[in-house]
């Protein structure tokens, strides 16, 4: 504070006007392309002249999502090490530039831009939440670069610049419904966290239910991270549906399953089909609270295949015997191998060449052979229903007849016609 009245700055209004004018002047002087005009494309700065080529690994290492995404980071690192051990890509060793998305969409966008523009990576692997993917999408499109996204998601998206190696809805949710219908389920109760994936999933479930004569007895959402389930579980109990379809996320699952078990509901009376509970989450919920419940994924650690045996062994050798492998980890692991195979096929690291060569590229992955669909940039995947066993692992109780073609906009399902508009 001034100790005595100081001379007045009479022209503060003028100062304001001056800075505004200055900003305006510079802004207009610096005008770029307007809507509809051709933009000067940003030149890719990827350097392929040396012995190495860089790729980005962008995962949340801090914040609420770190728990899940660090596992994906490990899987990416494992795959890169394997590719390097096998002689690299186009004879070049791959070097990982790791970044922290900090569980915030804006940070994902910022770091993606840094990886592309400052580190000049040939491709980026990572992302988990849909929010982080949506935040990164324009960055990859504007800078014409590539993202490999490894998590099952709500579908309804297909970007030239993203390869989706996790399941879309017709590879996870619809098979789960098929399975429930096969086992005689005639009524469902839907419980989910309040965000895009559960809402989209439940829209699909409602449409499916209507077409297949299944009654939906209730649909409840809780805020992300909520741990108060007494009202909802009581409503579930009194609704007495044949099964519950659970799209809750994170810690909410812990509170939900504890409450569920405590009011006396069991997998035998009212099974819960979950789409976000993998090997990693079972420990926190407590096996005794969730034993016998169902999950829908494409991969479990217990899948029996030579490729998976090798994957699990390699992973445990690298990161410790107590670690488990899960679906998103496997999809991330696949994504690195798929990228490497595509680059080999294209004979080039250039984005356009990779995009052009992608169709039909395949990899013998732990879950079975996956093949890239060049039209929508998703991959074929085998759907599996798993049951949670006393050892905390999930065991396949049902699997689809071979890999399912990806259909992110559900164009192949008549009952889904009203759900989404094709882009």
């Amino acid at each position: 504070m001034p100790l005595r009245p100081t001379p007045e700055v009479r022209g503060l209004a003028r100062a304001l006007a001056a800075s505004a004018a200055l900003a305006g002047l510079l802004a207009t002087a610096a005008c770029g392309a307007r809507a509809g005009e051709e933009t000067v494309a940003t030149e890719s700065c990827v350097d392929t002249s040396g012995d190495t080529v860089k790729v980005g690994s962008l995962n949340s290492l801090s914040g609420t999502m770190a728990i899940s995404e660090t596992t994906v980071r490990d899987a990416i690192a494992l795959a890169v090490a394997e590719v390097n051990a096998a002689g690299g890509v186009q004879g070049k060793q791959i070097e990982i530039v790791a970044e922290d998305g900090a569980s915030e969409p804006t940070v994902f966008a910022e770091k993606a831009e840094k990886l592309i523009r400052e580190d000049c990576v040939a491709a980026v692997f990572g992302g988990w939440t849909s929010a982080s993917r949506k935040a990164m999408l324009p960055v990859f499109e504007d800078n014409d670069s590539l993202l490999y996204y490894p998590v099952q998601y709500e579908g309804l998206e297909a970007s030239e610049n993203i390869f989706y190696t996790g399941a879309t809805t017709n590879q996870q949710i619809i098979p789960a419904l098929d399975y429930l219908a096969e086992t005689g389920v005639e009524s469902l109760y839907l419980v989910g966290s309040d965000y895009v994936f559960p809402r989209t999933a439940n829209a699909i479930i409602n449409a499916y239910a209507e077409a297949h004569g299944i009654e939906v007895l209730g649909e409840d959402y809780v805020t992300l991270g909520s741990t108060e389930f007494s009202t909802i579980v009581n409503q579930v109990k009194s609704a007495d549906a044949d099964a519950v379809f659970n799209t809750l996320n994170g810690d909410s699952n812990v509170a939900f399953f504890r409450e569920y078990a405590n009011v006396g509901l069991t997998a035998a009376d009212m099974p819960v089909m979950s789409v976000s509970i993998a090997e990693e989450e079972v420990g926190g919920i407590g096996v005794e609270n969730i034993e016998g419940q169902l999950a829908a994924w494409n991969y479990y650690q217990t899948v029996e295949s030579p490729a998976n045996t090798a994957f699990v062994e390699a992973f445990k050798a690298e990161y410790g015997a107590e670690r488990v492998t899960s679906d998103p980890m496997e999809a991330a692991y696949n994504s690195v191998h798929l990228w490497a195979a595509t680059v080999e096929k294209a004979g080039s690291f250039a984005v356009a060449d990779v995009q052009a060569a992608a169709d039909g590229v395949s990899f013998d992955s732990p879950e079975g052979t996956v093949v890239i669909d060049g039209d929508n940039h998703h991959v074929t995947k085998t759907a599996r229903i798993g049951e949670i066993a006393a050892d905390g692992l999930l065991y396949t109780v049902w699997e689809s007849d071979g890999p399912i073609e990806p259909d992110p906009f559900l164009e192949g399902y008549d009952w889904a016609a009203d759900l989404a508009v094709t882009e």
Partner: protein, 358 residues
């Protein structure tokens, strides 16, 4: 130095130096990506100036600035989405994310946002009016201090939850994928630089407004209310009105910052405006010096920069650092960086202590 800066010539020199750095040096020295990052940080700094006014000068610890930041951001994002949709599909077209969510008709409350003028007016008026109403409701009833802080924090939590539930506002994913900004292609690096200049201009203007408010009689009155609200009331002032003005101005600043933030960063989602982001706004202000004018700006920039620079190498160390910064700065250096000079000059007069302690 301080004395000089308080003279008219000093003020102009300060502004000229800041303008030189922001408009001259930074664009010259920084790559396009780094400049974009700086533009984002400048938005945080704008919020910080408002917090400095409300908290440092007015004693209102607003733990809910994310609400106003979010309002400005969402209002701007709504315009960008409708404009994009119109550009592709003609008037009344539905933005892409709504199509995906199965919304076929543009909701009525979206329609006016196709107008740029309406959008800008809304960004300036809506959050400010909301702050005035809320401020009157709270301050007239003499809810203050920690109670106010907790209420404002709960408000930020409630607001984020409300937004997550609104599918017609993008829900948890928020709004993203903007192509044009008032007709300019956002992908063009030249236009990105233009956005940076806008952010810099906004920051300078906001600092100028805050400076005038501080030096005016109102600024003295605000400090008086902060230090002894009841005394002010017994002098015949309605102290609540005094507080409402500062609160509303801080809300306005945050809203404008949010509006500029959206085209720069390309996304706004509830994750950027909830309880934790709101309290993180405070960290920069506390470090820089809550009661000073430039302190909050410097603090906000420093914290944002440190976060970017440190978090990638040491994600866990950064969380510790954040926590310890809160503890050490506020417990030991309540005047922030701005007070180091006076502390070092072994000049810890009552004045600085009192100001800092408020």
């Amino acid at each position: 130095m301080n004395r000089f800066l308080q003279t008219r010539a000093g003020t102009w020199t300060g502004f000229a130096a800041a303008a030189l750095v922001l408009f001259g040096l930074a664009p010259l020295l920084l790559s396009g990506f780094r400049l974009g990052l700086l533009a984002q940080f400048l938005c945080y700094a704008v919020v910080a100036v408002g917090i400095g006014l409300a908290w440092g000068r007015g004693g209102m610890l607003t733990l809910g600035q994310g609400v106003f930041f979010g309002m400005g951001a969402y209002l701007m994002a709504m315009h960008l989405k409708t404009a994009d949709a119109e550009f592709r599909g003609g008037p009344g077209a539905v933005p892409d994310f709504m199509e995906l969510a199965g919304i076929r008709e543009l909701p009525a409350y979206w329609a006016p946002f196709s107008s740029p003028a309406f959008t800008i007016a809304a960004i300036l008026v809506l959050p400010t009016a909301f702050a005035v109403l809320l401020g009157l409701a709270v301050f007239k009833r003499r809810v203050k201090g920690a109670y106010f802080a907790i209420l404002s924090q709960a408000l930020a939590g409630a607001f984020a939850i409300l937004l997550i539930g609104q599918q017609s506002l993008g829900g948890f994913n928020g709004l993203s994928r903007f192509r044009y900004f008032f007709g300019f292609t956002l992908a063009d690096p030249v236009n990105q630089r233009m956005l940076y200049f806008i952010a810099a201009g906004v920051l300078l203007s906001v600092v100028a407004v805050a400076l005038q408010l501080r030096r005016s009689r109102y600024g003295e009155l605000l400090v008086a209310v902060r230090d002894a609200e009841e005394r002010v009331r017994f002098l015949g002032y309605d102290a609540a009105n005094v507080k409402v003005v500062a609160y509303a101005v801080a809300a306005l600043f945050a809203s404008v910052a949010g509006a500029v933030f959206v085209p720069i960063v390309g996304i706004i989602s509830p994750a950027s405006i909830g309880i934790v982001p709101s309290i993180m706004f405070i960290l920069g202000v506390a470090i820089g010096g809550r009661a000073s004018l430039v302190g909050p700006v410097v603090g906000a920039l420093a914290v944002a920069w440190a976060q970017t620079a440190l978090s990638e190498q040491f994600p866990s160390a950064w969380t510790y650092a954040q926590g310890l910064l809160f503890v050490l700065v506020i417990a030991l250096l309540p005047g922030g960086i701005a007070s180091i000079a006076s502390v070092a000059r072994r000049f810890p007069t009552k004045r600085t202590q009192v100001e800092a302690a408020a």
